[in-house]
Symmetry: C2
Subunit: 347 residues, 2 copies
DNA sequence: TTGTACGCGTTATCAG
DNA sequence: CTGATAACGCGTACAA
């Protein structure tokens, strides 16, 4: 009763064979009622639960998926994991979460662990595409020997795996159009790091959108801001202090809500009133958006749906790398651009 | 090269026994250099990695810990998980994260999964103590048959496992003293739900502190607010609209920063200026505290250290349930109470 | 230095 | 309806 209880213990104690114990546990029909009852009693008494490892060894499947991301401390990743978790759960799978050191790519060690654990599929999410492509594809090749691989990545990335991407186009388009519709003509983008695929793609789309609307695409309106609030502060300070006041933008699109948070603080610190003196839009529609001052207009990428789709694809695991285009981004209008709440979605 | 590669495949292909393959993989010294090289080449060619399940079956340990919490979407839990993850990692363990449905207790199903996976230890964190005590202890008893169990829980809870608790006393004391020192006499607490152990403990400590300072402990100053921003909004509205203006508190202690976020919004909406008309203090020192307007003074419970300690205890797994009192809470002073930044820590 | 053979806990097959 | 027994992939005595 103290150490590990095995099927042998139960079989011996119940006076039956291990085969019968298995039948009882699995609810097999071919067991006499009295036998079943007898065995069940012993099982309960000993709190017996079969070992997943042994089951795996025999059966093949681990019924486990892996999610790999940089840190669960990031709210965006958190929403992805949460959705993936429950989708997997609903299908009888459990999820193992792996975090990668800051900007480290997919390490050999991680690949090794993934394979060693014999998970039935991996989902990579974000911040990994900045990596040396050769390393990455090498890792994927090795992984693919053992399990299906999926990635939530920007459209441009060419990876040999199931790719799910968010709607980066509308993610840039919606905010720009919104500001344009409200009369803004000088619009700036403070976003990520131009080093990474994801960020630069967002930047390109932003510029494209400006041109489509015949707006000035002054490079001064386009500055790196990293991914956190502090980055937002710095970016605003750098951009505005480098610009003659008459050339200041009147609207800012931030890489994400956290960056916007920092930007707002810095703008206020410089004496600007929001949204009168400056409009601002974030991205991700985080929980705190309604609580900034003014409430932050934001784009929702619906990361939960990306995660859900990714898990589904992984479970189906049809060969041939599928490319799913996801549900469109949605603009959530609040008051940080001064829009009336009766605002209707543009075209 | 397509399906699963086993140690037999490697052995056959390299023309040696499985024992020799193991030796090479594990870096055993007693292998002739030429043999080692030959085997290693085959291993690399086939991308062979031993199966964790098989290793577990043979060896006993899974080298895996489980962390159970309600949702990783909560920033506080997120910090705990992150810390636990890296501490485990540093010790060669991996972590499995389990989420429980909203307010559901530890389900039979979860206990079952935990045992089936044969994890080497579990850490339960938060929001589980509101549960029926009988169920809970029953689950723990069963789990303890297979693995050491730890819980990050409030001091009052009597669970038969390793208990790590945060400094709930100072968590209430520090804010009250801070406000008192700044001249506040009518201080309110908007916090959690008095149904749960954790919340009520915080409430008790709060009242105790008021009495210790000879401040009024008017029940009207003590209202449930749940755990999110919306709860904070509602709590403020309810409290203030039910009170004659002359009896309004001048300072509010919020259950956590998110609740404070909502409270701030509601206070502003009622036309109050912060911190002049109302001081407010949060708890958890979340990333957004410096970015509220005004920047939010908060208490840091150092959840990372709780998690780290919990993991350490779990790995040592000394029998007999240890009770660790953790590092004291710290008050992080910002501007939401109007304190000068030169503020010194009270006694 | 290397190989043989068994055990780890479970399920599946096949015989009774 | 029930019981032997092989097989799953690996590590480890023990033997050579």
């Amino acid at each position: 009763m103290s150490g590990k209880v095995t099927i042998y213990d139960i079989a011996r104690e119940a006076g039956v064979s291990t085969a019968t114990v298995t039948r009882v546990v699995r609810g097999d029909a071919n067991v006499r009622a009295s036998t079943r009852e007898k065995v069940q009693r012993v099982i309960d008494a000993y709190a017996y639960t079969p070992s997943a490892s042994a089951q795996h060894l025999e059966g093949g499947r681990t019924k486990t998926l892996a999610v790999v991301l940089t840190t669960v401390t990031n709210l965006y990743f958190t929403r992805i994991y949460d959705a993936a978790y429950w989708e997997a759960e609903a299908n009888g799978y459990s999820v193992r979460l792996f975090q990668t050191k800051d900007n480290a790519p997919i390490s050999r060690e991680l690949v090794d662990t993934l394979i060693r654990q014999r998970v039935d599929g991996v989902l990579f999410v974000g911040s990994i595409w900045s990596t040396d492509r050769r390393d990455l594809n090498e890792a994927l090749e090795k992984l693919r020997l053992y399990m299906p691989v999926a990635a939530i990545c920007p459209p441009g990335v060419q990876l040999n795996c199931i790719r799910i991407h968010s709607d980066l186009v509308n993610c840039s388009r919606l905010p720009v159009r919104h500001l344009h519709a409200l009369g803004h003509r000088r619009i700036a983008f403070i976003g990520g790091s131009m080093q990474t695929k994801d960020s630069s793609k967002r930047g390109e789309n932003f510029l494209e959108e400006l041109r489509a609307l015949d707006l000035p695409d002054d490079p001064a309106y386009h500055v790196d801001a990293g991914y956190d609030a502090e980055g937002g502060e710095r970016a605003v300070l750098r951009m505005l202090s480098g610009l003659d006041r008459r050339r200041w933008p009147t609207g800012i699109v931030a890489f994400n809500d956290t960056v916007a948070l920092g930007a707002i603080k810095q703008l206020k610190q410089m004496g600007l009133h929001l949204p009168e003196d400056m409009a601002i839009i974030g991205c991700d529609n985080q929980f705190f958006c309604p609580y900034t001052d003014p409430p932050l207009t934001s784009v929702d990428l619906h990361p939960e749906e990306l995660a859900t789709s990714a898990v589904r694809e992984l479970l189906v695991a049809r060969e041939g790398t599928a490319i799913s285009i996801m549900r469109e981004s949605t603009l959530i209008v609040r008051e940080s651009c001064g829009a009336a709440l009766s605002y209707r979605k543009l075209d």
